[in-house]
């Protein structure tokens, strides 16, 4: 394992390299994640934007090694720097082996979309939290674990934490459940948190509170967050870097400022213009993206967006001939589109 240390740069926690996760179905092969590369640096929040079916959740499950059959990681590496400094390739570990289990929950933790559905309805919040603390040897005794749990619930801004430790999920509101779940995810102080649409089911006022909570927790605890959502507003506010996914592939990545101020890919541009902007003019038509996201079943290697793209240029966009390369157009800003070339920037 030691020789892998050179693979990760000093400040990188996680590097996903050519990840492909396919689902073998009766109808054919569903390419949920089809060659994804990205890096998560220490102490940053990386946002992943994409519509349903773009593979953003499967990517996070691949990192956690919780992809259920018929899904399988068929190619690629996920390099991860453990707290001890050792670098491992998560794809080579057994999903339910001792090493993966010591990472999952302890070092890499996850917050899910539906707080009510992801907590156990038959155990109290306290029990679920204490179990985790004892399994990962963060606390030695139940009493110590209980106190640690109370402290965590306090940190995420829940009042009367002792009472919440004793209550079942159905006794709490959606916002409280989500906070409790964040507290459980953070109680072993992981170095990487994967948040999969954590605020989608919540009201705007609660969402605003949770976003603020993520920001303060991130800066206080010094961890990295992968924040997955389809809400561009949340990403603009929270993320340092953004990855835009479409049909299992990354179409664009860069800093938040680059993505929102200078979007390069036709998909990102249209997505930004299709949102009703606050303070915008009423009845000005929204620029919708025509068509629907296709099913990624048995797709040939080609530009996934071409069936909905209005900016395709004949002769330049050889959409049928393989995937467009992910090119670096400006420092740190990558795009995967035939309209861009290594030398001359964008063809118009």
């Amino acid at each position: 394992m030691q020789q892998k240390n050179g693979i990760l740069k000093e400040d990188v926690v996680l590097r996903v390299n050519g990840l492909k996760t396919y689902f073998k179905l009766d109808e054919g092969i569903l390419k949920a994640v089809d060659g994804v590369d990205f890096e998560v640096r220490k102490n940053t929040i990386m946002g992943v934007i994409g519509e349903s079916g773009c593979g953003k959740s499967v990517t996070s499950h691949s990192i956690m090694r919780t992809v259920q059959p018929p899904g399988r990681i068929v190619e690629g590496n996920i390099y991860y720097r453990k707290l001890s400094g050792e670098v491992v390739d998560l794809t080579t570990l057994k999903p339910n082996g001792a090493q993966m289990r010591s990472i999952r929950g302890r070092e890499i933790s996850m917050v899910f979309q539906e707080p009510m559905a992801s907590l156990s309805p038959v155990h109290t919040i306290g029990k679920q939290m204490i179990q985790m603390l004892l399994i990962h040897n963060v606390c030695k005794t139940k009493k110590e674990a209980f106190e640690h749990g109370v402290e965590m619930l306090n940190k995420v801004g829940l009042s009367r934490p002792e009472q919440i430790m004793m209550s079942y999920p159905h006794q709490l509101s959606g916002g409280m459940c989500q906070r409790a779940m964040i507290a459980i995810a953070l109680c072993c102080s992981p170095q990487l948190l994967i948040a999969d649409e954590p605020t989608t089911a919540l009201d705007v006022t609660v969402q605003a509170n949770i976003i603020e909570l993520f920001k303060t927790l991130q800066s206080n605890m010094g961890m990295s967050i992968i924040y997955i959502t389809h809400d561009l507003g949340v990403i603009a506010e929270l993320a340092d870097e953004v990855v835009v996914m479409y049909l299992g592939r990354i179409v664009e990545k860069g800093s938040t400022l680059q993505i929102f101020k200078n979007p390069l890919h036709p998909y990102t541009r249209r997505l930004l213009r299709s949102m009703p902007m606050l303070g915008g003019v009423k009845r000005e038509r929204l620029e919708a993206i025509r068509g629907n996201v296709p099913m990624p079943l048995n797709t040939p290697p080609q530009c996934g967006f071409c069936s909905r793209c209005d900016d395709a240029i004949e002769g330049v966009c050889n959409c049928q001939n393989g995937y467009p390369e992910l090119l670096e157009i400006e420092p740190g800003h990558f795009v995967s589109c035939f309209r861009y070339s290594k030398e001359g920037g964008e063809t118009r």
Partner: protein, 345 residues
């Protein structure tokens, strides 16, 4: 609320209430009341879109369904203007008379996956209201349905398929076609885009806009998404625990909110622009429970500007400026921040 004399009002709701009893135990003893709608009054003009916003559980959907009497309101009056110009109080009608009014008011539902019967073809789904209300059949029916499906941007060849063959956005279009089938004047759209992806959302919003122009429709647009409501609505009503707390023209409400709750809601909108930094207002505590209501103003336990009076006296919805209604004792004295002040660069 005044203005009922205005000729262009399509639906005028007064003192609408919907209470649910809370029962439990073997004999279902009643030991409490859920105040789902608590004395709601407003009106909607013809060819207008009224946006209705509020957090989950505030009674938005209950209000929408009560207007159509899909849920039976406890008390109040709903005056609806019939095509001949007469105002009819829907609450006074019996079931049979109500069926005659139903074609004029329709509903579009939130979840396109559960609001279409999986065993019916698209043809059956859209033609059912036509057969029931107009008793037409044969080629006339087919022509009508074909016209409707094209109106919502789908193709005639889809008519023989079942709902499972369609994506969320397409299903929502089918739901809209079904609502349009009987030539309604008034449509309650209950979260029509919140289950859809961003790129599809824009398609449906554009479609609703086009149909409104084409058929002179009036919408009650229920949503929790404040950016969407700003885009579609002429006027916006804000609800909190079964009451309307503020109602005004969209621009006016977003620029000069008069209720502290509206201000907090506006400040919580995430803006897709990393250079704009929001000044967030954090509301302490949780939304009040409609079973166990606070005294005085329902919002006072979370209000940042509360004073003594707020704890004891319940503010009524009153017209502070022409067309701007608010239920707050101190609306004139507070200087609240609108969208422009909150999203300073």
């Amino acid at each position: 609320m005044k203005n009922n004399n205005q000729k262009d009002v399509l639906i005028d709701v007064r003192n609408l209430k919907k209470y649910y009893p809370v029962r439990s135990g073997f004999f279902s003893k009643e030991h409490g009341t859920v105040y789902a709608l608590d004395d709601v009054s407003f009106f909607i003009r013809e060819n207008e879109t009224l946006g209705l916003v509020g957090e989950s559980g505030c009674g938005k959907s209950t209000l929408g369904k009560c207007l159509l009497r899909a849920i039976e309101p406890t008390s109040g009056s709903i005056n609806f203007k019939m095509p001949d110009g007469n105002m009819v109080d829907l609450m006074q009608l019996n079931k049979k008379e109500m069926r005659k009014v139903r074609p004029y008011m329709q509903m579009i539902f939130q979840d396109p996956y559960s609001s279409l019967d999986p065993r019916m073809t698209i043809m059956d789904i859209i033609s059912e209201p036509l057969i029931l209300n107009y008793n037409i059949s044969g080629s006339e029916l087919l022509d009508r349905v074909a016209g409707l499906i094209q109106d919502v941007g789908l193709e005639v060849k889809y008519l023989k398929r079942y709902p499972h063959a369609f994506s969320g956005g397409q299903r929502q279009r089918i739901g809209i076609a079904r609502a349009l089938a009987v030539n309604p004047r008034f449509i309650v759209a209950d979260e029509p885009v919140s289950a859809l992806d961003v790129s599809i959302q824009a398609q449906i919003l554009n479609l609703l806009n086009d149909l409104q122009e084409k058929y002179k429709l009036t919408y009650l647009f229920i949503t929790h998404n404040l950016s969407v409501v700003e885009y579609v609505s002429d006027r916006v009503a804000v609800m909190y625990v079964g009451k309307i707390v503020e109602l005004a023209n969209t621009r006016e409400l977003y620029d000069n909110p008069l209720h502290p709750y509206t201000e907090a809601l506006l400040s919580a909108i995430p803006v897709p622009d990393p250079t704009r930094k929001m000044k967030r207002i954090h509301l302490p505590g949780e939304v009040a429970s409609p079973v166990n209501l606070p005294s005085g103003c329902y919002f006072h336990p979370r209000c940042l500007y509360r004073r003594k009076e707020c704890e004891n006296e319940r503010p009524e919805l009153r017209e502070v400026y022409p067309g701007h209604f608010v239920a707050c004792h101190f609306a004139e004295q507070l200087s609240l921040r609108g969208v422009k002040d909150i999203t300073k660069n």
